[in-house]
Amino acid sequence: MSDALIQQSIARLVPKGARVLDLGCGDGALLDLLQRERGCSGYGVELDDANVQACVQRGVNVIQLNLDEGLTMFGDQSFDVVLQIDTLQHLRNAEVMLRETARVGRLGIVAFPNFAHWPNRLSVLLGRMPVTRRLPYQWYDTPNIRVGTHADFSDLAGKNSLRILDAFGLQEGREVRWLPNLRAGTAVFKFERG
């Protein structure tokens, strides 16, 4: 789901040689990148049939599961890194999956669209839900059922006793570390179980 620039930025956060579980791995492009350039291994989890086939086509291990049914397939701390890249906003049980991410992985990395990015704020101020390149959907047919901000996620992480190791924003492929809640279209968090 994520574009190449986001993928490159996320890939830099993943330790070399890590065993990775990529939740909502889409067509497997990020896992492919991690395998080729960072010597990682692991699995993607994906629901969509076409994406599952795309993963198989590019030689990425993929497991077809509905994340809303949980991660019982995977043992505690069985991966070095669990990724949720542009996945959280689609999940009915987003909070449960966040806890599951921290249970299964020693390290969790989450990225999602930051609804507090200033153009979104401006749009809402003008009385309209934002429709942007990052959030291209109309309000009535968006798959983004969890609408949150960079700041909101910090609170949710605290509530679930997650220790945030790094937090920043991504905008145009660059890391935004000053006022990310206002200045970045994508929120990124790296965390572990507290």
């Binding site: 198989v56 086509q57 497991i63």
Partner: protein, 402 residues
């Protein structure tokens, strides 16, 4: 050959067919394992014979998901079956009599051992892939445990790591139907010149129910009454304004009254099951049915590991594609996920596709673009890893033609 039961079998033969050509380094062989009632004839048709398509002809052949232009595909009939390999209808060399019920009990592991000997005879040391659906998937899984160094990829479709109590129960109903048929003669019916067809028919009817999903059975047959046939029809017209007893009221026209019979065929589903049973009883061997259902019952690689499938699969080093179908209640997706979980626990390479197909267990034999697509993509990956066979003769040996 020694058998898992402690017994042994000698002077046996295996029927097999091959398709495509072996490449120069003998690295493109794919073994196809069959389920309960299939054979070594997996693809192609026999020249001059109508309706002789192999049982997996939609999956295997030139340009198909398992592409015989790229792979050397081997279909083999298992020991104890009734399609050419040594089975209960053959002569026991120790007694000079037909085996019948004396044919040794064979297991999935025994079949795999025999298949390995076939590969030895063909000069194939390693398989690019072993593939099977249902009971065939169990053989593919067993290959990765018995001969981990000889299998690069295992494709396990609509299968399970063992049977549930319900699965065994259905098998037992089928076996009792056969064994209690007065024509069974304790398995030595050949000497009496009869066949326990009644038992086989019922066994097949029970089996067929478990191959279909409730939804598909309703869609296909619903409560539709069998069209009146000569002896059944009483020539009565439905009363004025009568509602159809079921099915699609819009279909209209052909509404007929119930026959109010307890023994004649009333519903279309009955007719279908009887037809399937009749057809099956004409060609399938009763002792083979007992043997193969028992092999299903006994398969349980985790048994020696206290039920721990992850420990059992630690030996498997090949890469896996596991496929299940959402409406398959005979070997449900839950059972395939157990296999996947055990492989993940062992950090093995595995991909898992759960196809939302409506057809129940039968789906593994049917065309579904998602299912065919994922198998095709997987085999393209395998093909990319190895040299192509060059100009391949289309099909060879057993007379299959495109």
């Amino acid at each position: 050959m020694p058998l898992q039961s402690g017994g042994s079998i000698r002077d046996y033969s295996l029927a097999f067919e091959t398709y495509g050509a072996l490449n120069a380094d003998r690295s493109n062989a794919v073994l196809i394992c069959h389920a309960l009632n299939a054979s070594h004839h997996v693809a192609g048709v026999y020249a001059g014979q109508d309706k002789s398509e192999g049982w997996w002809d939609n999956m295997i052949g030139p340009g198909k998901p398992v592409d015989t232009d790229r792979f050397f595909v081997i279909g083999v009939n298992n020991l104890g079956s009734c399609f050419g390999s040594t089975g209960p209808r053959d002569i026991n060399p120790d007694t000079g009599r037909v085996y019948g019920a004396d044919f040794p009990v064979v297991t999935v592991e025994d079949w795999v051992s025999a298949q390995a000997r076939l590969l030895d005879a063909l000069g194939i040391n390693q398989l690019a892939a072993v593939m099977g659906g249902s009971l065939g998937g169990m053989q593919a899984l067993s290959w990765t445990l018995q001969f981990p160094d000889r299998v690069h990829h295992a494709v396990v479709i609509a299968s399970a790591p063992n049977l549930t109590a319900e699965n065994i129960a259905f098998n037992e109903v089928a076996r009792r139907a056969i064994v209690t048929d007065p024509d069974f003669h304790a398995g030595h019916f050949y000497e009496h010149g009869v066949l326990p067809k009644r038992g086989l028919r019922i066994a097949r009817m029970v089996g067929h129910i478990t191959y279909l999903s409730d939804d598909v059975m309703n869609e296909k047959f619903g409560r539709t009454l069998k069209a009146p046939t000569l002896p059944a029809s009483r020539g009565s017209l439905p009363p004025e304004g009568a509602h159809p007893p079921g099915g699609d009221p819009a279909a209209g026209g052909a509404i007929r009254d119930y026959l109010y019979t307890t023994q004649d065929v009333e519903f279309q589903i009955e007719s279908y099951l009887r037809y399937q049973g009749d057809k099956f009883s004409e060609y399938f061997d009763a002792n083979t049915y007992l043997l193969i259902t028992r092999a299903l019952d006994y398969f349980d690689p985790a048994r020696r590991f206290g039920g721990d499938l992850s420990a059992a699969l630690a030996k498997a080093t090949s890469q896996f594609l596991v496929v299940s179908f959402t409406t398959d209640w005979r070997f449900s997706p839950k059972r395939s996920r157990e296999i996947v979980r055990a492989l993940v626990d062992n950090r093995r390479d595995v991909s898992y596709a759960e196809i939302d197909a409506p057809h129940g267990h039968d789906a593994f034999l049917l065309d579904d673009p998602r299912y065919m697509g994922v198998v095709r993509s997987y085999f393209e990956g395998i093909a990319a890893e190895r040299p192509s066979p060059g100009v391949a003769p289309e099909t060879t040996r057993a007379g299959a033609a495109p």
